[in-house]
């Protein structure tokens, strides 16, 4: 790649990164791009915490006996893995990092509607995170990330209230982010940027925000009720008072099922951007892809009790929820079909972001289809709470969300940092992640069907071979995740300088400089074109840093 070094006599343009270098200018910033960077750093930190716990889990499961750690320790390890990954990584990662950075840029706004609330969101996240770290360091929690009552309310001595408070606070961070996005997308769009011209990433973040605003308060109150049950003996879920532990599960999953769409929808948005750019085409069936995001957000609220088919809910309710669950398969499938159809008659290049997009389609297809297994009542009774479920949601959350996130990070890294990442290393890590991921989680489908329950510290010896395969895969996966961390940091100093639009991509974010100035655009753009107008954007073949 020809490095584009700026001539020494040309001073770098003032941008959001070099506009103030003090710690104060970062910690008190209201610039959505700087807040995105703050999130990037903190979310990455939690990812490595969570990943550390994941490795501990996989190491313990190398052997059937519980030998690496005590049972209680193991229980705390998988609980902390779950809580950190769900509440402090997967939920904020794409909206709060990429969404924060890109939504105002993509709609031609100077900032989010409420910049100070945006900063408040980050501080809430950090306070929740510090509290969770405190819980982690001072003994942990052993309920699993699901906090099921009455185990959480009565039978454990671990720091439920503190962990609950951490999740509660992080929840408000997420509510405020969602609220901010909705208002921004409604009120701050550049002149001419109608809803039907919005990039699909913005649509996806809008749908995600709806879930954040509508769902998160319910888990907030549920956690409050668990906390007051522990602190003040208000026995809302206590079976001895006639309370119903299943009500906890209803309220919990009313949020926590839609929460998986909070995680996956923004990544789906990223994939739409990537596929459009690297096949040089408008997304096939733009309207359907956009509306499918909204459909997923709404339908996502109708299916929660499919987590409770064996929990003791009524037979008829189980049938209703199973039936409704299949509806949500439709918009998810529509997205996959449209992405595939977009490739048709495209002009496709295999830059790293596109590799991640291919990986996403593959892994999400498997994750989504195995979701149908779990929605099918007769099958779910057998595989519920087994490693089949573990494999399924890792295919969606890790295979889906992380593929989308990393694809997006590579795609927008030049915009974020002003530098190009090293393409060779990036391709290698993408392949490592794809291979390592499948080796880690595919055996778990088999493990689940043959009957290994989840959250097991020790297991019957016949399950060992599959567990060893899974642990081997996890090691590959770990290397795959460390590499980008290293070369992104490397590129900050040594990467070639990126131009404003290195991919010749459509979208307003590429019409400003890399990195963008503090208020994004020197002049508010006026939009007169549809999204993904790749027919109007010349793709400079020879100069493109795409093909190597």
């Amino acid at each position: 790649m020809a490095s584009r070094v700026i001539p020494a006599n040309q001073a770098p343009k003032l941008n959001y990164l070099n506009n103030g270098h003090s710690l104060r200018s970062w910690l008190l910033t209201t610039d959505h791009k700087r807040i995105a960077i703050l999130y990037l750093i903190s979310v990455t930190t939690f990812f490595f915490f969570g990943g550390f716990f994941a490795m501990l889990i996989r190491l313990e499961l190398l052997t059937p006996q519980g030998d690496l750690m005590q049972a209680d320790t193991y229980n705390k390890v998988f609980t902390m893995h779950g809580m950190i990954m769900v509440f402090f990584f997967l939920i904020p990662v794409v909206p709060a990092v990429l969404g924060n950075f890109l939504v105002p840029l993509m709609i031609g706004a100077k900032d989010l509607a409420f910049p100070r609330i945006n900063l408040l969101s980050w501080y809430l996240y950090i306070i929740g995170g510090i509290l969770m770290t405190h819980v982690m360091l001072s003994g942990g929690v052993d309920t699993g990330w699901t906090f099921y009552s009455p185990f959480s309310t009565e039978y454990t001595n671990t720091k439920i209230v503190e962990a609950g408070l951490a999740v509660f606070i992080a929840g408000f961070s997420s509510i405020f982010t969602g609220l901010n996005f909705i208002v921004t997308i409604h009120r701050m769009r550049a002149p001419g940027l109608t809803w039907s011209r919005l990039p699909l990433f913005v649509w996806a973040n809008y749908a995600t925000s709806l879930i954040m605003v509508l769902g998160t308060p319910v888990i907030a109150i549920t956690i409050v009720l668990v906390a007051v049950e522990r602190l003040f003996h208000l026995g809302i879920f206590d079976p001895r008072l006639g309370g119903d532990p299943l009500l906890f599960q209803h309220l919990f999953w009313f949020y926590s099922h839609p929460a998986v769409y909070i995680m996956i929808l923004p990544s789906m948005g990223v994939i739409s951007e990537l596929i459009g750019c690297f096949s040089r085409k408008r997304i096939f069936g733009y309207k359907f892809v956009a509306l499918s995001s909204i459909a997923i957000a709404v339908l996502g609220f109708l299916v929660w009790a499919h987590h409770m088919f064996v929990a003791g809910i009524s037979l008829y309710a189980a049938m209703i929820f199973s039936f409704l669950t299949f509806f949500i398969g439709v918009p998810s499938a529509v997205k996959v079909f449209n992405w595939t159809a977009t490739l048709y008659k495209g002009s496709i290049t295999y830059a790293t972001p596109m590799l991640y997009a291919f990986g996403f389609i593959g892994l999400f297809t498997i994750g989504g289809l195995t979701g149908l297994f779990l929605a099918t009542l007769g099958i779910d009774v057998h595989v519920h709470d087994t490693y089949f479920v573990v494999a399924h949601f890792h295919y969606v959350m890790v295979g889906g969300v992380l593929m989308g996130y990393l694809g997006g990070m590579h795609f927008w890294w030049p915009k974020i940092s002003g530098r190009m990442y090293p393409e060779g290393w990036a391709k290698l890590s993408a392949l490592l992640i794809f291979a390592g991921f499948n080796l880690t989680f595919f055996p778990q489908f088999i493990l689940g069907y043959v009957g290994m329950p989840r959250r097991y510290w020790q297991y019957p010896p016949e399950f060992q071979v599959l567990n060893v395969l899974s642990t081997a895969g996890a090691s590959v996966l770990a290397v795959g995740y460390l590499l980008p961390m290293i070369y992104f940091l490397w590129s900050l100093r040594y990467g070639p300088i990126a131009e404003a639009n290195p991919w010749h991509a459509a979208g307003l974010e590429w019409k400003t400089t890399s990195p963008p100035p503090t208020f994004n655009f020197d002049e508010t753009p006026v939009v007169t074109w549809e999204a993904y107008n790749y027919d109007e954007i010349p793709d400079k073949e020879l100069e493109a840093p795409v093909a190597r």
């Binding site: 910049p115 208002v183 308060p217 206590d238 006639g242 009313f254």
Partner: protein, 227 residues
Amino acid sequence: MEHAVHNPALLHHFADAQQQKDAASLGMWLFLVTEIMFFGGMFCAYLVYRLAHFNAFAAGSQQLSIALGATNTAVLIISSVTVVLAVKAAEAGRRKVLVGYLVVTVLLGMTFLAVKGFEYREKFEKHHIPGPTFKFTNTFDDNGKQIPVNPKEAELFFSLYFAMTGMHALHMIIGCGLFSVLAVLAWKGHYSPGYFTPIENAGLYWHLVDIIWIYLFPLLYLISRHS
């Protein structure tokens, strides 16, 4: 920025004051939706348990004072009127009237909280606070008909009573604090007919807290009062 000179309250990233106002209003309404869902979780729990333990809920309900509950409802409704009149005063730029209504609102809010505190104290004396000290003897309703209940189920009713009214009272406390600050700022002349969004938004919040109480009152106080 040239327009910033005209209106110091206009933030730089908005195109004009109208856009800023519309954004603030939409943001507030979305926040109210989160409040609806927040209390909604408890309303859902209430409905489920009321269906399952109707007798105990009726018996628990009859331990609450309708007079105090109705008084508080009236106090909140009047405070909602004063809030809406405060917004009107702000819109008309009548600073002293605005401050007056805000102060009255805070006083009404505190009246509500005082009555609530009085009720809580009564619950404490009657050992109706859930927990190890909870006592609930079989009681008689207003017509002398015996309603025997399992004290455990009655405890469930009071758990919900305290969770719901407690969370509501917390919102009232926040509201009182909010309006106190706004009263001071209004006194200092922060608001004008061109800019009184904080007053409007705080008013929306107060009305929502009022609406929640409008539902809490019949649901908690008025179960099966007839013979």
